[in-house]
């Protein structure tokens, strides 16, 4: 991530420590993870010590300190999806990709995350791949979805 881009994001917010989470969120959504140079730049600009940024980046689930794969899989494990069999879908997805939630595979193809509720309970179990929603999932169906991805 280049410096100008980071600076542009920082400049959008008032330069006080309360903007910290908002700035990090924007870098995260732009870049899909928080690279070291971005964190250092934010620390310097906002005058917030690095260890506090580290604390925030690890406390909140939206942030990632490692790069993400080309395709992001989110399996909803909200209660409604859970009672409709989300765990079995998740098991199958883990099996197919070889990664656990929070991980990225070695080819950088897939990153897998679980989410606590997407609020599409009518469609549960729900799996989202690169922003596209796939509803009424079953283990066998999740395999078809993943195979269709590049």
């Amino acid at each position: 991530m280049d410096k100008d881009k980071i600076d542009k994001i920082i400049e959008k917010y008032p330069s006080d420590p309360s903007s910290l989470i908002q700035i990090l969120l924007e870098i995260q959504s732009e870049n899909h993870w928080l690279p070291k140079e971005a964190i250092e730049r934010v620390s310097e600009k906002l005058q917030v010590p690095l260890n506090r940024i580290q604390h925030i980046a690890t406390f909140y689930k939206a942030f990632s300190l490692v790069p993400k794969g080309r395709h992001e899989i989110h399996v909803c494990v909200g209660t409604a999806c859970h009672v409709r069999g989300a765990q079995r879908v998740l098991d199958r997805v883990q099996d197919l990709t070889g990664i656990s939630p929070g991980e990225t595979d070695l080819d950088m193809k897939f990153s897998l995350e679980t989410v606590n509720c997407l609020g599409c309970c009518a469609l549960g179990p729900v799996m989202v791949v690169d922003g596209e929603y796939h509803g009424k999932m079953a283990p066998a169906k999740s395999e078809e979805v993943l195979k269709a991805v590049e």
Binding site: D16, P17, S18, S19, L20, I21, Q22, L24, L25, V48, R52, H55, I56, F59, Y60, K61, A62, F63, V77, G78, T79, A80, H82, V83, R84, G85, R88, D91, R92, D95, V115, N116, C117, L118, G119, C120, C121, A122, L123, G124, V126, Y133, G135, A138, P139, A140, E143
Partner: protein, 642 residues
């Protein structure tokens, strides 16, 4: 756009707006909430725009994207005004027909109407569908009538009238008095009276005070607040401003989950529009009241729904709670007096000011007034958002509105209150839903998640599920919560793996009570609820897991086996081909047999076995019958040859 400088100008603008709008002009509306979005409502929207133009109706027909209609099970939803014809599960391919038939010829497209699954009767109007008919939609009804991105739509239905009334006709004390008289209780879960909270914040001395909207809706299976924020952001904003005026605040925050991008977008648009119209900023409507609002996105932490954590998060720090008192009304954001209410609570405020507390208290029970929105989800036919008066029974919600349990299964329990709540069994289905009644049966109202569970749901698994969730969400600051939840989860996991021991249930109860009593904030204080409550009502299920190593609902993987009934198997190869671990032996005309050592218990065979055979069975608590010998498996082929 005009800058409105007085209440009279606001009224004049509204009148002009209405005079320009013909209520009889055909208008096609499309639900554009997140759930419909997931079922590709955007494609439908594009098709509507294209088709209206293609069929030359641009001047004669309006198109409006509205907020969530609530009947998410049947989305995307299209409603055509003024007749209010309601079409369900509409796809882009249906649009040319809807346009030519309904919009042009005023004919109903029969196949898109709601069909009652029991009677087979069709419903043309939205209000005729049992899901809607049995609700009392006051707050949610606005969602379906306006485009959330248009302040003019909100003004046209009487928006900001309550603000004008509060600013010009009422003193702050009178506003608080009205809210107190309405006995508006916090819709976020705890049910604390909003008026008392406001009064405390007003009475605290301080030049700078804050008001905050809590839209950190973290309970899994709950999405009422999101739908309100997405579908009618101005109503929340108006409520917040009335609250700010009453308390004496000139700065507000909306704390909103970043997982809700559409809600953030619609709210941001609403703020900009309100500012342009002079409804936000300095000298609002020409009065002496100044107010500004900032949006703060949450970064994914369940605990931030707790008010002291939320405040820390707003300050740009990790969202860790602190002990109360002092309450935020005394020491809140940056140590200043602060009032926090949930989205739905704020959205109720304009109604109370407009219609008066008496109208509000005419609905509900003794202790709980008004309506409440629930998200009715799980094993229920009509998943969606439901608004009912306080005091209706659970049975009415689940059966009359929800349409009962799918697939002819038996109801087991309904879970309310998210990870802090409890499961209510069948014998209490007739209790009245309000803050106090739910507490009596060991559950809580919570923010409004209502998850229906049927006979296929294992209650030990549900308890384990919630503790697993909470273990990840506990901030770790105080040890009773951090360690208590972890230890309870460990025991529950062992029980579900068939390694439970005598005395585990009692140990869970003891741990649960300690965690409840000794934790710092509500997260830990309520974390044992799912465990204690399922033990209370479903102790037999715990005992079956521990003593018989049996999961009565056939859910816990380590306690079940899949088995193909040789009498029923027709050797169709379906399961054999789909089995991901190649654990199924057999072939064409050869009965299939599962190799129990290879089986990973994913359940694929159970799912793909054709329903006319139903040969795959789940077994728990008893040994799997030995596979039939090779010779016997071929019998099927011989029989088939006949």
């Amino acid at each position: 756009m005009p800058k409105l400088n007085s209440a009279a100008e606001l009224e004049k603008f509204r009148k002009d707006l209405l005079s320009k709008r013909d209520p009889n002009k055909p208008c096609i509306t499309l639900c554009s909430g997140t759930a419909c979005h997931a079922t590709h409502s955007e494609k439908v929207a594009a098709a509507i725009e294209q088709e209206i133009e293609k069929q030359g109706l641009t001047a004669e027909v309006d198109f409006r994207r509205t907020g969530c209609h609530g009947f998410c099970e049947k989305g995307p939803i299209v409603v055509i005004y003024p007749e209010e014809i309601c079409y369900l599960q509409v796809t882009a391919e249906d649009i040319p027909e809807i346009t030519s038939q309904t919009l042009k010829e005023k004919k109903v497209v029969d196949r898109l109407l709601y069909v009652d699954p029991t009677t087979g009767e069709k419903a043309t109007l939205e209000s005729d569908i049992p899901f809607y008919k049995n609700q009392e939609r006051i707050i949610l009804s606005f969602n379906t009538r306006i485009d959330p991105k248009s302040i003019e739509d909100y003004l046209a239905i009487g928006g900001y009238q309550a603000l004008a009334k509060a600013l010009f006709e009422m003193t702050p004390e009178q506003v608080i008095g009205e809210v107190k008289a309405a006995n508006l209780r916090g819709r976020g879960g705890a049910g604390f009276p909003a008026g008392i909270k406001w009064e405390a914040a007003r009475k605290t001395q301080g030049e700078l005070k804050y008001v905050i909207v809590n839209c950190d809706e973290g309970d899994p299976g709950a999405y009422m607040d999101r739908s309100l924020m997405e579908g009618n952001p101005h109503s929340v904003l108006e409520g917040l401003m009335i609250g700010a005026y009453a308390i004496g605040s000139r700065e507000g925050y909306v704390y909103i989950r970043q997982e809700y991008p559409l809600a953030v977008e619609n709210l941001t648009i609403a703020l900009t529009q309100a500012e342009e119209y002079g409804l936000l900023g300095d000298k609002i409507l020409g009065s002496g009241f100044n107010f500004k609002v900032k949006v703060h996105r949450g970064a994914g932490a369940f605990v931030c729904g707790e008010e002291t954590s939320l405040l820390r998060s707003l300050e740009g720090k990790p969202g860790e709670p602190r002990a109360r008192p002092p309450y935020p009304a005394v020491k809140g954001l940056w140590e200043k007096p602060t009032n926090i209410n949930n989205v739905e609570t704020w959205a109720n405020v304009p109604l109370i000011i407009n219609k008066g507390s008496a109208a509000f208290t005419s609905i509900g029970t003794d202790g709980s007034k008004g309506t409440k929105i629930f998200s009715l989800v799980g094993k229920v036919n009509n998943t969606g958002l439901v608004e009912v008066p306080m005091g209706v029974t659970l049975r009415d919600i689940i059966y009359k509105i929800g349409g009962g349990i799918p697939g002819g299964k038996r109801f087991k329990a309904v879970q309310t209150g998210g990870p802090s709540g409890g499961c209510i069994p069948e014998q209490y289905l007739d209790i009245k839903v309000d803050f106090d009644e739910l507490k009596k049966v060991g559950a809580i109202m919570g923010s409004g998640g209502m998850i229906v569970m049927d006979e296929d749901t294992c209650m030990v698994d549900v308890a384990r599920y919630f503790l697993n969730f909470l273990t990840g969400e506990s901030c770790g600051k105080c040890s009773p919560c951090r360690e208590g939840i972890r230890q309870m989860l460990k025991i529950l996991t062992k029980i579900s793996e068939g390694k439970g021991r005598e005395g585990d249930i009692e140990l869970l109860e003891e741990l649960g009570e300690t965690t409840r009593d000794a934790s710092l904030c509500a997260l830990g204080g309520t974390a044992p609820n799912p465990v204690l409550n399922t033990i209370r009502y479903f102790r037999d299920e715990y005992e079956a897991h521990i003593k018989e190593k049996r999961c009565p609902a056939y859910v816990c993987k380590d306690l079940i086996s899949y088995y193909i009934d040789p009498e029923k198997c027709q050797a169709c190869l379906s399961c054999l081909r789909k089995c991901p671990s190649e654990a199924i032996a057999g072939g064409k005309n050869q009965i299939h047999v599962i190799d129990q050592d290879k089986c990973i218990k994913c359940g694929t065979c159970f799912e793909v076995c054709p329903s006319r055979f139903r040969a795959v069975k789940k077994i728990s608590g008893e040994p799997v019958p030995p596979p039939i010998p090779e010779e016997a498996r071929i019998i099927v082929r011989e029989r088939k040859k006949k």
